[in-house]
Amino acid sequence: MIQAAIAAGAGLIVFYLVVKALDLDLGYGFLSGPAGFNFSNQWLTNYDSNDSRLGAYGVGILNTVRLVAIGIVMTTVLGVLAGIARLSDNWLVSRVAMVYVETIRNTPLLIQIVIWYTVVLLQLPRIAEAINVFDVFYLSNRALALPYVSTGGNFGPWLIIVVVGAVAAIVLRSWLRRREERAGGTQHATAWALALFAVVSVVTFFLTGTPLEPDTPSLEISEVGLLSIIGGLQVSPEFAAVLLGLVIYTGAFIAEIVRSGIQALPRGQDEAAAALGLSGYQRMTLIILPQALRVIIPPLTNQYLNLTKNSSLAVAIAYPEIIWVGKTMINNIGHAVPLFVLIFATYLSLSLAISVVMNTFNRRVQLAGR
């Protein structure tokens, strides 16, 4: 304790002397001034270069969060599938999964992101020659346009009804479950709940006048003769490259975690469940996965945190997440120390938030038994 206190005190004195010597301004007043630069990628915001630097940093945070949130979901799906595929009895399936895992996890992520960007996405044709897939996908080196939905006037009310429907379905399911436990037999609780939800959603969808319309992109020529892709969901090649890099890289590690989690269980668990007459699905969901999850979740949390921190590599191809925003500001006006402290604090908060969620989940899974 005493040593730590002395070290901290000495550190503070050195820091004070350095600040004095370099005459640094450690305040955050500069954040209220106009940024003077704008974003190639924005999400949910309409930032303008005259808005404050604080706002610019906010856009950076949104860009990071978007990358991390979508990345975690996609990499989990990819990783679980690849992990199960490696255990497959099918020779081809398990070999493909093995080649994927071994090549991806043994090469640097930075190189992979740069390759996705420069070798794959930037090699796509110009907009004028965009690759047209069935008139719904347009792939060009300026944007990947995917079909999406646009919201109509009654979207808000309809969304509320859908949420209410979902809650009702959950209530119905647990009621049927209780009845099943009390009376025995099978009440098909999940099937009935899904049916209720589907009927409510679909019927009110038409009653409210189809609040969601499909929005497919199309190639259009403006009045001055410029080609552009209109509508749909437009993904920038920078975002796509970073997302692909993060998802595929992290997925390889998650695949190994899932595989080892399932293999760590004694074979007797599956055999005992089989000997009781439980079906393959029941064995997986009631016996294998609940136990495998206990082994899987802690290292899985690590991978989510790695993905979060690795998202900073996006700066290499100028995707405007927080590092890029900070770097640009430092180039413009300095204030490196407070900006790096801010970036540090942002990653720390984001990582801690993920940890809290995953630890809560982990505690619930670990609660019973061993």
Partner: protein, 252 residues
């Protein structure tokens, strides 16, 4: 029941004809033919690697046979999954390593399969589980988790779990081999009680004293074949085969 004619007059519940099982190049079972009749207790013994565990695991298809045929309670064991799940729910199995589900309480270990496979109501399943726990002598452990119990208690829970499915046949694969010596008796007592209640049982065991008490018939396995078959009297006092004699002289 020492009279073979009277046994053959009864209906066999398990029929095995020339069953073979291979693991890669190694043939573990080289053609086993055997019958088990209702309410009969059959003890399988023999040196390690003789195929006795493999044989008992083949009866509910934890190992697949690649030749011959197996009929359990009138249902042929084959690739048909519906058949398989039905046969498995009629056969209780107790393993050397207990294989209780560590993430579920003792109570849930016992009620899971009756509820999920048989559709028994929760309350009924729990009442039945308590009766079974009383039968195996540990009703006070119902709410504990398997790892909180001793080996002997775990194995008794495993027997209760298998009995909860109301099986017609019980298979025991070296049920006391992983137990400390002082716990072997408590498990054997439960098995003895079960045998006297008229359960059809197949037991792989090295506990020859116990086996001699409960068994109606012995099968001596060696190198993937049934070398000798007979009543306890016959096997212990007058074994026909030299290999049986040798093995018995080594373990007794």
């Amino acid at each position: 029941m020492t009279d073979n004619d009277s046994i053959d007059a009864r209906v066999p519940i398990i029929i095995c004809e020339d069953v073979t099982v291979s693991f890669g190049d190694f043939q573990a079972l080289k053609g086993i033919s055997a019958r088990v009749y209702e309410q009969e207790v059959v003890v399988i013994f023999g040196p390690s690697g003789s195929g006795k565990s493999t044989f008992i695991r083949t009866i509910n298809r934890l190992e697949e046979h690649d030749g011959g045929r197996i009929v359990v309670d009138g249902i042929e064991l084959n690739d048909d999954v519906g058949n398989l799940e039905q046969i498995r729910s009629e056969i209780g199995m107790v393993f050397q390593q207990f294989n209780l589900f560590p993430h579920l309480s003792v109570m849930r270990n016992i009620t899971l399969a009756p509820q999920k496979v048989r559709g028994v109501p929760k309350q009924e399943a729990e009442e039945q589980a308590m009766e079974l726990l009383e039968r195996v002598g540990i009703p006070e452990q119902a709410q504990k988790f398997p790892t909180q119990l001793s080996g002997g208690q775990q194995q008794r829970v495993a027997i209760a779990r298998a009995l909860a499915m109301k099986p017609k046949i019980m298979l025991f694969d070296e049920p006391t081999s992983a137990l400390d010596p002082e716990m072997i008796k408590e498990v054997l007592d439960v098995m003895g009680e079960l045998a006297h209640s008229g359960m059809t049982m197949m037991i792989v065991t090295h506990e020859m004293g116990f086996a001699r008490e409960v068994a109606d018939r012995f099968l001596f396995f060696d190198e993937g074949l049934v070398v000798e078959e007979g009543t306890p009297e016959q096997i212990f006092t007058n074994p026909k085969e030299d290999r049986t004699k040798l093995f018995l002289s080594q373990i007794l």
